[in-house]
Symmetry: C2
DNA sequence: AAATAGATTTCGTCC
DNA sequence: GGACGAAGTCTATTT
């Protein structure tokens, strides 16, 4: 079986340009290994001197520049950009632009070690589990995971401060706000919960007050202090 | 000039395995275009059915699986993982593991369109400007950007709620906390600033109170309301 | 190793 | 298109 691949090792600049350009036009994923410099200007600005890197262009307008280290690209352009190949003497430059925000990325290759264009088509969708949404489903199916007598009444209930993960009432009929996190939480999540409780308090002008419960595998010390200060509660629950 | 590249188009499974394995051992960046399935289990869990994708392995233990769309990989493994190549009948699998947290990724190739191993060495460091740190420098050099008479006294000043971006005092000698953001801010940043002001208030037991100023290009409506509620201020400043 | 917050965060969803 | 919050976020810094 032969795939839709065009590739060349140690190509001339002209050959590299041709494969990149043809690949981009044909909707392929194009990759280049080579020595390059990178200039970026947009939300921020950066320069990157000469070095060996891996550059990938996707048909949706994404550009990724990877070094030999790290999960994240050292430079990139998000989906929706338009690519252009510009040839100079002994170099070729991949230029990528977008508007809103105005951003520009230029990768100039002094030499190319390898270039390839491959027709990537992915019919499958990722099936992911263990997310915050899954945690919510588990609580709705078994509300006593929070506490005996807890009754969920709504998810994503709107308040002036934003949507509450789970809204319900406890055994005594008192309003309860749940903020769910799939991992250990810090002070930020407490702030979020506090804002919701405050907003809902006002919204309901409840005489009995509104309980706020942070649901997560664990909390940091500082977060625990903040919870105590604000009269908020914590329920440990693994994702 | 010849680079340290090994590459093959439409290789046999055995050839592909050989190039990947040799590349990994030699500390190269290895890329594979091909039809594969991906299984992940760790902090969450996922499965991805057969499809054409681009897989990159870095010598630092990173794995990235890219489809034809999006900035982010559809599956990945962060730096620090250990790779292993396992061969079965007509397929080969790249397995990547790490501890703490325990995570496992397996990419099984049914067919390989192209494989390449390239010695990537990047001597340069990225020079980036327009970050929050740059914004802080600008304020320290020209404090009147905040308001006439503002005097910075410390950066990263520690409080029980965390480190404050900029701490100083105003024309009247009143304590001021700045929270800097390089982009338009929402409610979260207001919560952050509120926590700092509250903590510093307590820390200083100041009679005159502590002013909190959010410094950002702009704020959302909800954030503006929250600022007003809590008696906090806003200064517009572009990054 | 844990905690905390930034990031050119990206991404999805809802208004 | 903006707003808001999740993410298997990752990454750097500090304790």
């Amino acid at each position: 079986m032969t795939s839709d691949v065009r590739a060349r090792t140690d190509p001339s600049i002209e050959t590299a340009r041709s494969i990149v350009e043809t690949g981009l036009e044909g909707g392929a994923v194009v990759t280049v290994f080579g020595e390059c410099t990178v200039e970026y200007d947009g939300r921020a600005a950066s320069t990157l001197g000469p070095g060996d890197r891996h550059v990938m262009c996707k048909p949706d307008g994404t550009v990724l520049v990877h070094t030999d280290e790290g999960h994240q690209p050292v430079n990139w352009q998000p989906p929706g950009c338009t690519h252009e190949v510009v040839v100079a003497e002994d170099t070729f430059t991949l230029e990528s632009r977008r508007d809103n925000p105005d951003e520009f990325l230029a990768v100039t290759f002094e030499s190319v070690g390898h270039v390839a264009a491959f027709d990537v088509t992915d019919p499958e969708e990722l099936s992911l589990s263990g997310t915050e949404e899954d945690l919510r489903q588990r609580i709705l199916e078994n509300p006593s995971l929070i506490e005996p007598g807890f009754t969920p009444l709504a998810t994503e209930r709107e308040t002036p401060a934003g949507a509450v993960d789970v809204y319900g009432e406890d055994d005594d009929g008192q309003a309860v706000v749940l903020e769910l996190k799939r991992r250990r939480v810090g002070p930020d999540a407490v702030g979020q919960l506090a804002r919701y409780v405050e907003a809902l308090q006002r919204d309901l002008h409840a005489e009995t007050g509104v309980r706020g419960i942070l649901v997560a595998p664990s909390v940091t010390d500082r977060a625990r202090s903040l919870l105590a200060e604000r009269g908020l509660e914590f329920v440990a629950l693994e994702p």
